[in-house]
Amino acid sequence: MFVDQDYGRALEPLLAQAGGYARSILRSRADAEDAVQLAALRGLERLSSYDEARPFKAWWFAILRNCCIDTFRRARRHPTVAIENDIADDRPGDLSPDWDALDAALESLSDSHREIVRLRYFAALSYAEIAEVLSIPRGTVMSRLHHARQVLAARLQEKTP
């Protein structure tokens, strides 16, 4: 039986990846923090529905993904003044992600391909876990990720004649 304390312990090692994944969707560190907080509490509320036979990481990242979507929609409904390269990113020792490079790399991909790239690289999920989060077969994960890499590889080749 998964109790509250187990939940906190299981979540602890996922938080850095959760921050990166949420940030890749929301682009703002502050919004990403909000989404992770929301997902942590939502997961706690839904703990009784968690099936221990399934991977915890995939279960929780599915919740986080929905929280990011909610946060993104809320931010669009109530836009705030945009500050270039979110001021919250300017923290000592904090690397600023090259979002332009990411956008340039992924702009020609469909949403479903982009999502798989995010789950693989930012959330560091395995193919089986991505399949669980998106409710698609593992083979589809493999082929979509391959397609995404091919597109990115082609773009990189265009840039370096």
């Binding site: 906190g8 921050g19 907080q37 693989r120 690289y121 391959h146 890499r149 990189l156």
Partner: protein, 139 residues
Amino acid sequence: MNDWDPAELSALLDGELDSARTEKVEALIAADPGVRAEFERLAQADRRLRTIAEAALFRPEVRWPEAAPVPRPAQAGFVLGFAFILLAWAVGKLAPTMTASIVVNGASLVLLLAWLAPFALREARSGQHSLISTTGGPN
């Protein structure tokens, strides 16, 4: 060697192939310059994405809910003991009718509290939340 899926090149990069498939695909990469070039292209894309993703990593603080305080048995015992001493003192000082009235009312109150206690405990344990800052995990 036609019994392979080009997407296995990506799966190899991700360490998602079993040992038998890993051996086959690695042999193919070694034997075929075209496949090797494609694998290198994919590896380059992989490195680029990893660099961007690593820069985005950060660890958010999570504020866990604080569970409502649960009454401690030791405190309850202390209160009951004190009530008993007070009652014993009152019995010696008051008129018999007043004493009987206090005993009856006291017993009723104890019974009522005993009936309510399980509900209160359940409610307290379900955690009526006010947020506090902590990193360890939910209480």
